[in-house]
């Protein structure tokens, strides 16, 4: 067990200090450059004081105030024969903020590593993150806002044995909150850049060819009394990337052998996934087309894990990542069990000096995304082969899950005034995406105006005015956010989200928020008070529920 509990934190800190700071006091010997190395890091504290509020269904918090905090410290040093770096991240959840994943509790150093890189070979011992291809088979990463961290604890090796050849290998266990999961993950990835490999003989070839492939296997003991569960489950993918002038084509096919788990109701059907994208870009125009087919492709290092725990792979979200609050009210969440997605986007810049573009031009983005369930036939073979279902086609199944048509226009009118406009029509299947039942498909129309006006050299005013119309679910919402930036150091925000369309008059609630922040050097302090509505927060199709709350917030960040 590599993870450290609170008792061994002191030992770990001493060890790290010896490792990191010790070299500062060592006289450089032959083979070392004279630099004593550098230390860098960053810290963040998020705290909230909770006020009971039954009207918005805010949880009553026994501790009254909760706290998440973490700090990274990294030591790095250039040696004559390579580079060395080591780092730790101390994390503290006392107790974790309401809604943050349950596994994050207490304090400890769940992330620490040492890396040596020399002459095309890099070896990392300890915690590491990694991605093979687009992540369909393996993506080890973290997102602190989501409370997502599946860091691998073990050994990772990267190598460039020859120009244009890139190899990666890893072996370890995954992080699960403040502990580690029961499974072992082993993987290998190789990528060849043909143009680099052949060198100057390809200089005249304007097309770049990149091909890659990987194989990952997980081990988990079979303790099941009735089923013969595979203890070693392998998955692989092959990918290619062709780039010619303004066109970039990427395609990846991934396959997984039988992997019965709680995600797929313990069926033995192999999984597969296809991801492909085509982009075209020239000055003032960008076009993107994407296709994703996911069939029984949840891949975790614990077959009984759920939600965001111990995921080895990542299913990309083929939807626009909306940043405006009400447009993002109904966000898409990837469905590893099965989905078919299409996305298209056109980015166009209206020329400067034209009637529409004015002095600075105008940016227009038109985006469309649609996701349906798979087109399948149920097999009813639970007593025999347990394949579960068969695929009829690689096109959309009948059940609609998500659809999003949106347009975003940005125009700078003069040196002081600019504005963004957004319209989005979103159809959201709450039953599939949130695990609910009995809800109809939720259609919503949203509009956003975001004017920004620079009053003078010190003061900038920014408003975010949004409206979402729907007759379903909690009904329509309106929102006004007013931000004032004063110089380089202060900002002040007032916001109201109003659920005026709620069928129940007593739930037509104003969610007021007031925030203020101060920056100096590399530090930032933000304090706030307000009501937070219940919602879903997603990044790239990975989501967590955010409970309603009422209270004071404090955020401090710093780096060095």
């Amino acid at each position: 067990m590599f993870f450290l509990n609170a008792i061994s934190v002191k030992k770990a800190l001493v060890l790290f200090l010896l490792l990191a700071v010790g070299p500062l006091f060592v006289i450089p010997s032959q083979g070392q450059v004279s630099s004593a190395g550098t230390i860098s890091g960053n810290f963040q504290i998020d705290a909230q004081y909770y006020i009971p509020d039954s009207l918005i269904d805010a949880d009553t918090i026994a501790e009254k105030a909760l706290f998440n905090g973490w700090g990274n410290v990294i030591y790095s040093r250039n040696l004559q024969k390579g580079t060395f770096s080591a780092g730790i991240r101390y994390e503290s959840y006392l107790n974790r903020l309401n809604g943050y994943p349950a596994g994050f509790s207490g304090t400890g150093i769940p992330y620490r590593y040492a890396t040596f890189n020399s002459q095309g070979l890099e070896i990392t011992a300890g915690s590491s993150y990694e991605q093979f291809g687009s992540g369909l088979v393996l993506r080890i990463y973290e997102d602190r806002g989501l409370g997502y961290d599946n860091a691998l604890d073990g050994i990772r090796v990267r190598a460039t044995p020859y120009r244009g050849i890139y190899l990666k290998g890893l072996w370890g266990k995954q992080r699960n909150g403040m502990t580690s999961g029961p499974g072992i993950v082993r993987g290998f990835d190789g990528e060849i850049n043909i143009n680099q490999l052949i060198g100057h003989r390809m200089d005249s070839v304007k097309t770049q060819f990149i091909a890659g492939g990987n194989f990952v296997s997980k081990f988990q003991a079979d303790l099941d009394p009735f089923l013969n569960l595979p203890q070693n489950v392998g998955a692989w993918s092959g990918r290619m990337n062709i780039i010619r002038k303004r066109i970039n084509f990427y395609a990846e096919y991934a396959y997984k052998i039988n992997d019965p788990s709680s995600d797929n109701d313990f069926i033995y059907k192999p999984g597969q996934a296809i991801f492909s994208s085509l982009t075209y870009s020239r000055k003032g125009l960008g076009i993107y087309l994407g296709y994703l087919h996911v069939d029984n492709f949840s891949y975790r290092s614990d077959r009984n894990a759920s939600i965001n725990s111990l995921l080895i792979n990542y299913i990309p979200a083929l939807t626009k990542q909306h940043v405006y609050a009400l447009v993002a009210y109904y966000p898409f969440a990837s469905i590893p069990k099965g989905q078919v997605s299409l996305q298209g986007q056109v980015d166009y810049k209206v020329k400067k000096g034209s009637v529409l573009g004015g002095k600075y031009g105008m940016d227009i983005t038109l985006n469309y995304a649609k996701t349906n369930a798979l087109d399948t036939t149920t097999l009813h073979d639970e007593a025999t082969t347990r394949q579960g279902y068969s695929i009829n086609s690689y096109l959309f199944g009948d059940s609609a899950i998500f659809e999003d048509l949106n347009i975003e226009i940005f125009r700078k009118f003069n040196s002081k005034f600019k504005m963004t406009f957004v319209y989005a029509f979103i159809k959201y299947n709450k039953n599939v995406l949130l695990g609910k039942f009995g809800y109809p498909m939720i259609p919503s129309h949203s509009v956003v105006f975001e004017p920004v006006y620079k009053l003078n050299n010190k003061i900038t005013l920014k408003a975010d005015i949004e409206h979402m119309y729907t007759k379903e679910d909690y009904g329509s919402w309106a929102m006004w956010l007013q931000e004032v930036d004063i110089g380089q150091n202060f900002f002040f925000v007032l916001m109201d989200q109003w659920n005026y369309g709620n069928e129940d008059p007593k739930h037509r609630i104003h969610y007021y928020t007031v925030k203020a922040g101060y920056y100096w050097a590399t530090h930032r302090i933000e304090v706030g008070y307000g009501k937070q509505r219940q919602g879903v927060f997603c990044v790239g199709g990975v989501c967590r529920l955010v409970p309603a709350s009422n209270g004071f917030t404090l955020t401090i960040t710093s780096s060095f």
């Binding site: 296997s217 009735f226 013969n228 070693n232 052998i257 109701d265 009984n304």
Partner: protein, 292 residues
């Protein structure tokens, strides 16, 4: 060495990488268990009453969890205490027509729950998730059920349970056995309790989300009708005690058939069984089965 390192890693990964399974089902043991039987399941006991105006929130939470974790949430709605009394003797809620709220969904196990857990003095709605946190941290607030369920379900399964019921609808006699298997090394005394539940009962319910505050056609699910293997008590019967190595199995058989009351609609009945440690009442695994 560098040129040999990656072929070695690749070879090791590929060789150890895949177990293809042609026959999912292990030999012997009768028909295949439902897939969800081989995962951890948790027992959520919802203490409720038709006079409790916020209790529908707990029922809604239970429904949400059942859909969020299909096959892994075993809900029991125990109608207990003041809020579960029929009217009369309890006073009618404001604006309720005379003659309403006459249903009595309480079961004979009400006093046993109160004796062990003090349920009748709890504020409602409230409950227990696998009885986790007993005694200091129960009851568990409804808002914490989802969080606690996620935490518990993230752990590996530690015991397996399978209910084998046989029901004669003419005589209304129910016979059953329960197969169990410990999947971790443990010590202590473990008992098995078997409940009879009824779904789809309708009646009056006070409801803060209802425009009038009253719902005349409220649907009650998971209603605890009685304990099958220790009527009047929630303690059930001891099935294993001492040092128990992983892989230890047991079969519990009901000694005499249980006669299902004619007051219950046998088309809407379910059986719930749970294995718990007697020292702290902590539930190790739960299971449910339909009555066919």
């Amino acid at each position: 060495m560098k040129k040999h390192l990656f072929p070695i890693i690749l070879g090791a990964v590929v060789i150890t990488g895949c177990d293809y399974v042609d026959v999912p089902r292990q030999a012997g043991g009768g028909g295949p268990p439902p897939a969800s039987d081989t995962v951890r399941k948790i027992l959520i006991e919802d203490f409720t009453g038709h006079l409790c105006i916020n209790c529908p929130d707990a029922a809604e939470m239970l429904d949400s969890l059942e859909h969020a974790f299909p096959g892994q949430i075993i809900g029991v709605a125990a109608h207990v205490g003041f809020f579960a009394q029929p009217c009369p003797p309890a006073a009618l809620p404001e604006d309720a027509p005379a003659g309403t709220f006459g249903e009595d969904f309480r079961s004979p196990e009400e006093s046993s729950y109160d004796l062990i857990f003090g349920t009748n003095s709890w504020p409602y709605p409230n409950g227990m998730v696998n009885r986790d946190g007993f005694p200091a941290n129960i009851p568990t607030d409804v808002d914490e059920w989802d969080d606690m369920s996620s935490t518990i379900l993230a752990k590996s399964i530690s015991a397996y349970l399978k209910i084998n019921p046989t029901y004669n609808s003419s005589t209304r006699q129910l016979s059953l056995s329960v197969n169990g298997l410990f999947m971790i090394d443990t010590t202590g005394t473990y008992a098995l309790t078997v409940y009879l539940l009824e779904d789809s009962l309708t009646g009056w319910q006070t409801d803060s989300d209802h425009p009038e505050g009253l719902d005349s056609n409220y649907i009650f699910n998971h209603v605890l009708r009685g304990c099958i293997n220790s009527p009047g008590s929630v303690l059930g019967e001891t099935v294993m005690t001492g040092t128990i190595p992983s892989g230890t199995s047991f079969q519990y058989t009901l000694l005499a058939p249980y006669v299902v009351s004619t007051a219950f609609n046998d088309e809407h009945l379910r059986i719930v069984a749970y294995l718990y440690k007697t020292e702290d009442y902590g539930v190790m695994q739960a299971a449910e089965a339909e009555i066919d």
